[in-house]
Amino acid sequence: MNKNLKQAFFSALLVWAVAFPVLGLKLSIDGISLVVHSQGSFTISIIAVCSVLMFLRVLFDKQWSSVMSRRSDRKLISPAVSNYLTLPKTQRWIIIGLILVALVWPFFGSRGAVDIATLILIYVLLGLGLNIVVGLAGLLDLGYVGFYAVGAYSYAMLSHYLGWSFWVCLPIAGLMAATFGFLLGFPVLRLRGDYLAIVTLGFGEIIRLFLRNLTDWTGGPNGISNIPKPELFGLTFERRAAEGMQTFHEFFGLAYNSINKVIFLYLVALLLALLALFVINRLLRMPIGRAWEALREDEIACRALGLNPTVIKLSAFTLGACFAGFAGSFFAARQGLVTPESFTFIESAIILAIVVLGGMGSQLGVILAAIVMILLPELMREFSEYRMLMFGALMVLMMIWRPQGLLPMQRPHMELRR
């Protein structure tokens, strides 16, 4: 009991130590100097209540855990349901359902909602791409955003200097990113685990710094602006068409409505995401997909069977980078502006968080996680200061309740039919 008391007291103190500087104090500017205020008695009392609760929780730890263990016989989700949900077949049906909804709802949704959905789709695309590298091939890549940047700048520069259209640049951007993935992958893929993570992190930063300092070509920190939006078979969605072009609303005899542009962008993003989904679904059932899986499990056995580990890893790295390139060029088109600041490490971290949160290797998981990760901050604008805190909390909660991710997928096994 004495030991418990000491521990409980310490925990309560810890609550104060953590919460008081973050929540209980406020900085404000008085003239030219910073002044520290207290946040008022309400916040302080909440912290006090929390610390008391923590004190009691630790003090009665034994009783608490015995109550919890009795309750945990009844799981939140029963194992049968959980197993059913992780079957590839079930997930395929859920994905098909989601796709149908995704195709229809923008025509009824508000402009803002469609815009956010487009952003979500960009992250779905990125998540799916990184899922190949991290989830399937088991290579921890912390510099994924570098390839995203390569894709974005490919389109931005090609359209800025050569005036090429989005649809021509899209495959080129994918190819460029894939080439970068190949070139960077070649030296680093002999590294393993932590070392690989650090080196890819470095490469991601190098690409960003390059773009920032190559002022003559990339515009340096100002980036490249006025990037044209995609067109539908030569029809633009702007109010007025450039010389020799036609606008969408004139062609179809509609009144100009700016929401058309938003919906069109959304549909393009959806198309790209569906393409990624299709390709990855096939990859899982192809020899190369199986080889990634095998390599993740046992590299030595792979070598003994004549599989070249470097080539297999490189293919995963290159393909993943290619999807980042697609996402990047679409991002540039949607935003109309690219700057190096869009491609900082935090983006890599968010994409990786999407993959991990969703459940490694699971496409449906990635989609859900992208929705959660992007929608949550949008819905909770008032709490935007605590965004990182929320991410942290989300991760901790996930580790406790669903360590495999939101919706992990059982790999589709090849079956022997008799």
Binding site: P287, I288, A294, E297, D298, A304, L305, R411
Partner: protein, 255 residues
């Protein structure tokens, strides 16, 4: 007399100050079963690792069909038809038995990205053939009913058999078995013996094995090489080895 397929001479492997293998010589003829025996820590597995490219030997030559292969990477040697099993089973545990066999055929399959993406007829055919080959070998090692079970859930003896089947999927010329009978019961050891004989007779495979089960070694080997403390001690037919006083002293023990 059949051709010499593998010639090893003066093989040595040095780890820092330790000379783990010193001047091992080995000649393997086609379709022979050659056993490598010796006390624990004698360097048998190190020899295997050198032959299959997992270690780069510090000295000596390894000729496969007269072509030097020392210093090549593991997967390159495997592609030349020299595959191995491991002392501790190394299956892909999360994958099914069938998939384990499909992975091993990777090199023989249609791995074209676009062929797989659009399921072209040639891709379907290649996958179908792979399935059939896998099925054939599953039947050979009596694992057909476990085809869709993940490899990690199989019994130990089954895992060992699956590993041999997996090696056979690569269509090897030499198969190197590292203690294949370790942990098997007498019945399973008999099966293993039959399997090795079958590999040799029906698939023209040369077998090189490390084994401590003397009954098995003496009954299936054409030739035995004894290694002690990294250096070759003796080689010859099973009868010669059995009666060699040096070998008895160092390894077999007095009867």
């Amino acid at each position: 007399m059949s051709r010499e397929i593998l010639q090893v001479s003066g093989l040595s492997m040095r780890f820092g100050g330790l000379l783990a293998v010193n001047g091992v010589a080995l000649t393997v003829k086609e379709k022979q079963v050659v056993a490598l025996i010796g006390p624990n820590g004698a360097g048998k597995t190190t020899v295997f690792n050198c032959l299959t490219g997992f270690y780069k030997p510090s000295g000596g030559t390894i000729l496969l069909d007269g072509q030097p292969i020392q210093g090549l990477a593991g997967h390159q040697i495997a592609r030349k038809g020299v595959v191995r099993t491991f002392q501790n089973v190394r299956l892909f545990k999360e994958m099914t038995a069938l998939e384990n066999l499909l992975i091993a055929q990777h090199r023989h399959l249609n791995t074209n990205f676009f062929a797989g993406l659009f399921k072209t007829p040639s891709f379907r055919r290649s996958e179908k053939e792979a399935m059939e080959r896998a099925q054939y070998w599953l039947e050979k090692v009596n694992l057909t009913e476990f085809a869709n079970r993940t490899a990690g859930t199989l019994a130990y003896g089954q895992q060992r058999r699956l590993e041999i089947a997996r090696c056979m999927m690569t269509q090897p010329r030499i198969i190197m078995l590292d203690e294949p009978a370790a942990g098997l019961n007498p019945k399973e050891t008999e099966d293993l013996k039959a399997l090795i004989a079958y590999l040799r007779e029906s698939h023209n495979v040369t077998v090189l094995l490390i084994e401590h089960d003397m009954k098995l070694v003496m009954s299936i080997s054409d030739h035995i090489v004894v290694i002690n403390q990294g250096t070759p001690l003796a080689d010859g037919t099973p009868e010669q080895i059995r009666d060699n006083p040096e070998v008895i002293k160092a390894y077999l023990g007095e009867a």
